[in-house]
Symmetry: C2
DNA sequence: GTAAATTGTGTCCAGTGGACACTGTGTATG
DNA sequence: CATACACAGTGTCCACTGGACACAATTTAC
């Protein structure tokens, strides 16, 4: 699955492809195709997105799409960029990095909730487009003067986006621990094995009042806080951390 | 993708299917098929697993597999159970919940590293098999006397397994923030847009000495610790005196 | 001994991503 | 202006996917 043609895709995403002058006018555009595909995926899931289907929606032939997009992998890359949208500006958010990152997370998961196929689409190693990079950039900036190293800042951003990815909507679980499933037939099976899984059984019976997403985010934020406070001695004002401009 | 036949799969995973007496002896078995599929996936990725391929590996026809497994979704469910293996016994681990959960996480990610296709396979809502449930059970037990509610305990387990899922190996990223990609062509593209992505550019230049997995796990554990200490008005066992006053 | 249940096979199908040759269509250059 | 070249969209073909279904062979229960 290693994107062998990543270079081409990268150029496409970052607008590094010279528009041709010679031939007939293109009747479609990459973003138009991407938007169509996103619409399909939003409504019917990523599985419904096929070259045929997207082309059909645009009243074109399947093969015509290959003039704009190298293959399905590239189409999906375009879809992601299209879906993730313009990154937010957190400069206006009052408060320290906590508030900014929380806001960022909230905006991100609103976006992801609007496109429930994103977790499946972002499976595996990928290349970031400019918009996705913009999201990361915004989050990194929130952590600028915290005393964390650049690598740590990136790790925090990864941690949070990963958490949002994992807690996609209420329906999506990934780890198979979705409490929603506890209501159904699984409960009776679990009850039959109550001796072997007492803790799980107890958890399955507990009411689902907890927002697992906010809970996890709060834990992460606290964990990062702890590290930052540990790093910054109380008497030294911020700014001379020295890790910010590493070579 | 909603597993409409989940009931059947659930019965299969939990061994609730009466073995037939009438017909010819089955030449294969569900776990044998699962093991074969796991072997293929380990070596060549989940994409290489097809009914044809698995059957061929066993010198049988593709359709014969459908006598054991309702479809590909069910095959993958079996694969997951087969791959995840027997849950650990954390009773012997010395220390409090921190040590136990850390050990648990370590064992889990060793397992997942052995089967790099697991993140892709566990995408979406699923049903747990007995082994997977056993892993969850083990983790929940570590959190038994911590003062967390059952729902919170489950949330913590989900948080951690999700984190492990997201940090699968070094190659897998999902969020597109894999530092490994920074070494290649992406760097030059990013450098061209240095004005727009200064923080990301800085992070991309920083050496990758940080183990993102341990880093994240430590943050999560700390975040959970903070909540537990906040809940239990006991003496703090030698921790830093930082009081959690974040919102 | 025979009927019922079950296994594995062969055949068929719609749908998938994609290669490739082809016909148009437009622009840049002679 | 004429023409050659570069490009757009189409039609055809291919290997492969998951799966439905009818069928023969095999075993056990009655």
């Amino acid at each position: 699955m290693a994107d062998q043609n990543g270079s081409r895709t990268l150029q496409l995403l970052w607008g590094l492809r010279k528009p041709p002058t010679r031939g007939p006018r293109p009747a479609l555009s990459v973003s138009q195709i991407g938007q169509t595909a996103v619409t399909i995926a939003d409504a019917e899931g990523l599985g419904a997105v096929s070259m045929q289907r997207v082309a059909g929606e645009l009243d074109f032939t399947k093969m015509s799409l290959y003039r704009y997009v190298a293959g399905k992998a590239e189409l999906i890359a375009v879809m992601i960029e299209e879906a993730v949208g313009d990154p937010p500006d957190l400069g206006a958010v009052a408060g320290d990095w906590r508030e900014k990152l929380t806001t960022w997370a909230q905006l991100l998961w609103e976006t992801w909730d609007r496109h429930q196929w994103l977790p499946a689409a972002t499976e595996g190693t990928r290349l970031m487009g400019p918009k996705e990079a913009g999201w990361v950039e915004a989050a990194l900036r929130s952590l600028h003067r915290t005393g964390l190293t650049d690598a740590e800042q990136l790790a925090v951003v990864r941690l949070i986006s990963g958490h949002i990815r994992n807690t996609q909507s209420t329906r999506r679980a990934g780890t198979g621990l979705d409490p929603a499933q506890f209501g159904s037939e699984f409960s009776s099976v679990l009850a039959d094995h109550g001796d072997e899984y007492p803790a799980l059984l107890a958890a399955s019976k507990s009411p689902v009042t907890l927002d697992i997403r906010s809970f996890g985010l709060a834990r992460i934020i606290h964990g990062v806080s702890q590290l930052i406070e540990e790093r910054t001695p109380k008497d030294v004002p911020g700014g001379a951390g020295g890790s910010g401009d590493g070579g």
